[in-house]
């Protein structure tokens, strides 16, 4: 069962879709991990017991804190988004893609490496791209694997790349691995929901969990709000809605009235950087679910 309200993570790690400078300020505001934990605990007390989590390096500190708390470790549902793509883009500029893969694989666990050597070592491994993709997923998930992992999302940069290249196999590979190895819900973040649903028709993945931006303004909704709405009517999927307030352009009442008028909206991600309006926001959402 997917949680209905999830706490978002962007504000904790400096992501802001309206103004990057505000993002940087928020990252500084949450410079101490305890400040993030205060928000997480506040939400938990408001019965919002689920959160999105990127694999940002600072998220590792949050994961450690969650692990120390009995109630959070057991009950807080973690919806992990892999990988933290901005890190890899910078690394690709710093050392190139080949070095990223080589260095990441070097850091995977000893047991993993042993398995790799038994299958023929690094040289052979890089020829077996499918195994390598699974290992890279493991590399990203490892620090979070002891938490209550409910779902693992493939980052939209990779989902949409697989979509553009028309590689349905990659989506299946990810989904099968997440299900088998982590017993979590395989899920996909995308900026192109209608087109992605057409690609899923070429796979064995049914009724997928999708995270995508949707709001009354149509901000960050491709190719258009109308086509997105049509896709919700046409395809079987579970939608985790993000950017529902259009980066703060919409008031919660108006935003959620629109959102929950749509079919298949199962859950919503809410970004909170203070507790001020949280109670109102949650009660506004709960009117509809």
């Amino acid at each position: 069962m997917i949680d209905r309200i999830l706490l978002g993570h962007n504000q904790f790690f400096g992501v802001n879709h309206l103004d990057a400078k505000v993002g940087d300020q928020k990252a500084a505001q949450f410079g101490q991990v305890q400040k993030i934990m205060d928000i997480i605990n506040f939400c938990y007390d408001q019965d919002v017991k689920a959160m999105m989590m990127s694999t940002h390096e600072r998220a590792l500190l949050v994961a450690e804190e969650i692990q120390k708390s009995d109630r959070l470790r057991e009950n807080l549902g973690i919806y992990l988004l892999v990988p933290y793509i901005a890190k890899y883009i910078k690394q690709a500029n710093e050392k190139g893609i080949v070095n990223i893969v080589r260095d990441s694989l070097k850091e995977t666990s000893f047991a993993g490496k042993l398995g790799m050597f038994m299958r023929g070592g690094m040289g052979l491994l890089t020829k077996d791209v499918k195994t390598m993709i699974k290992l890279l997923v493991d590399f990203e998930v490892a620090p979070f694997s002891k938490l209550n992992l409910k779902a693992i999302f493939l980052h939209d940069a990779l989902t949409d790349l697989a979509l553009g290249w028309d590689m349905p196999d990659v989506l299946e590979l990810f989904a099968d691995h997440v299900e088998k190895k982590y017993n979590a819900i395989p899920a996909f973040c995308t900026k192109n929901l209608p087109r992605l649903m057409r690609l899923f028709e070429k796979t064995h993945i049914k009724n997928p969990l999708i995270m995508a931006s949707i709001n009354k303004l149509g901000y960050q909704v491709n190719p258009s709000r109308e086509e997105f709405e049509d896709a919700l009517k046409k395809y079987e999927l579970q939608l985790l809605a993000m950017s529902t307030l259009a980066a703060g352009y919409l008031k919660p009442k108006e935003a959620y009235e629109y959102l929950f008028s749509l079919p298949r909206v199962d859950s919503v991600v809410v970004g909170l950087s203070s507790t001020n309006h949280a109670v109102e926001t949650f009660s506004e959402i709960r009117k509809h679910i």
């Binding site: 690709a92 500029n93 893609i97 290249w165 028309d166 491709n222 258009s224």
Partner: protein
């Protein structure tokens, strides 16, 4: 329309993903000199033809258009091979390590009237398009001065690979990243006449990590640019441009365009008028890595198919390159003013 990709690193993968998704475009082949990347493609998309030699690919596949997304020093020879075969090409920015290496290519391309595009994609970002339109409307009057920065927190130790080799990349942060800003300034304010440049190599041995540049534009405006890939607290590459003009100011970055006018003009009120991305957004057919890349790819395909103009062709990239050359020359001479 058959599309082939030369170089399937980060940018080649991105362009291939976008253009392959467009109507009537079929990704037919890719080439790369790195076996590891070719193996990846072979294993995930077996129907695609792969080559470790791009010349062989061009001859055998005879594509209708090519994307070149390789290290900078390979751009010109690869573009020349496409030009010889009359194949329209999209080239990643920057054009070449230095402008003199591209002179023959430019002549060849222009004599054939071949469709080309160079990846200065900032011209397809909503906020910069809005800023360009405001400047063209004339409401600000004459531009007096421009202050601009381009920063990212990327490099805090010695980097690896071609990007940090003077010979292979042509330089460091100026040619590698600040060319986006130089292109925007040239696009918005017109040609640059003279520059003064100062650079610091801090983390890198051969190339600059920090640069400060002063511009004199042909229309009489002045301005400066500060650039670095080693500025902390910039999660993403961030450009900021402040334009100070006779009748007001214009502040523009990836997130917004803010206009300030002393007096009402042309339908704008006196005081501030702000446009944030949600005000300017319109959806794209496919978004992989940001709508600006999609619009750029769509424009290239449209140019090849229908002869529509592109925002940044080879000639434009050449003009950017000449400014870069002058900056490096000035920096070598302790900031001596240098003509472009």
């Amino acid at each position: 329309m058959k599309l082939a990709i030369i170089g399937i690193g980060k940018m080649g993968m991105l362009h291939a993903g976008i253009m392959n998704a467009l109507d009537d475009v079929e990704l037919c082949a890719v080439s790369d000199s790195t076996n590891f990347l070719l193996n990846g493609v072979k294993s995930l998309k077996p129907e695609l033809n792969t080559y470790d030699n791009y010349v062989k690919m061009l001859d055998k596949e005879q594509p209708d258009a090519v994307v070149i997304a390789t290290p900078v020093f390979l751009h010109v020879p690869m573009a020349e091979e496409c030009t010889k075969r009359n194949i329209p090409f999209f080239l990643e920015k920057p054009l070449s390590p230095a402008s003199d290496q591209a002179v023959e290519l430019i002549e060849m391309v222009e004599s054939k009237d071949l469709v080309t595009m160079v990846g200065y994609m900032m011209r397809y970002v909503d906020t910069y398009m809005k800023a360009k339109a405001i400047l063209e409307s004339g409401v600000l009057g004459k531009v007096i001065t421009v202050h601009s920065t381009i920063y990212v927190a990327q490099l805090f130790r010695k980097g690896k690979g071609w990007r940090y080799s003077k010979e292979q990349a042509g330089g460091g942060v100026v040619i590698g990243q600040a060319t986006h800003l130089i292109d925007l300034l040239q696009w918005m304010l017109g040609p640059v006449e003279r520059v003064t440049g100062h650079t610091i190599n801090w983390y890198s041995e051969e190339v600059e990590d920090f640069a400060h540049v002063h511009f004199e534009f042909k229309n009489g405006a002045m301005g400066w640019m500060d650039s670095s890939w080693s500025i902390r607290h910039h999660r993403l590459m961030q450009i900021n441009i402040e334009i100070h003009a006779e009748k007001g100011n214009l502040f523009v970055c990836d997130d917004y365009a803010k206009l300030y006018l002393d007096e009402p003009a042309d339908g704008f009120n006196a005081g501030w008028t702000n446009w944030y991305n949600p005000d300017l957004f319109h959806g794209v057919e496919i978004d992989v890595g940001g709508p600006q890349y999609s619009r750029q790819g769509i424009a290239f395909i449209d140019a090849v198919k229908n002869g529509k103009p592109v925002a940044s062709d080879l000639r434009n990239a050449f003009e950017v390159q000449k400014i870069v050359d002058a900056i490096y020359k000035s920096a070598e001479n302790h900031g001596q003013p240098t003509d472009v």
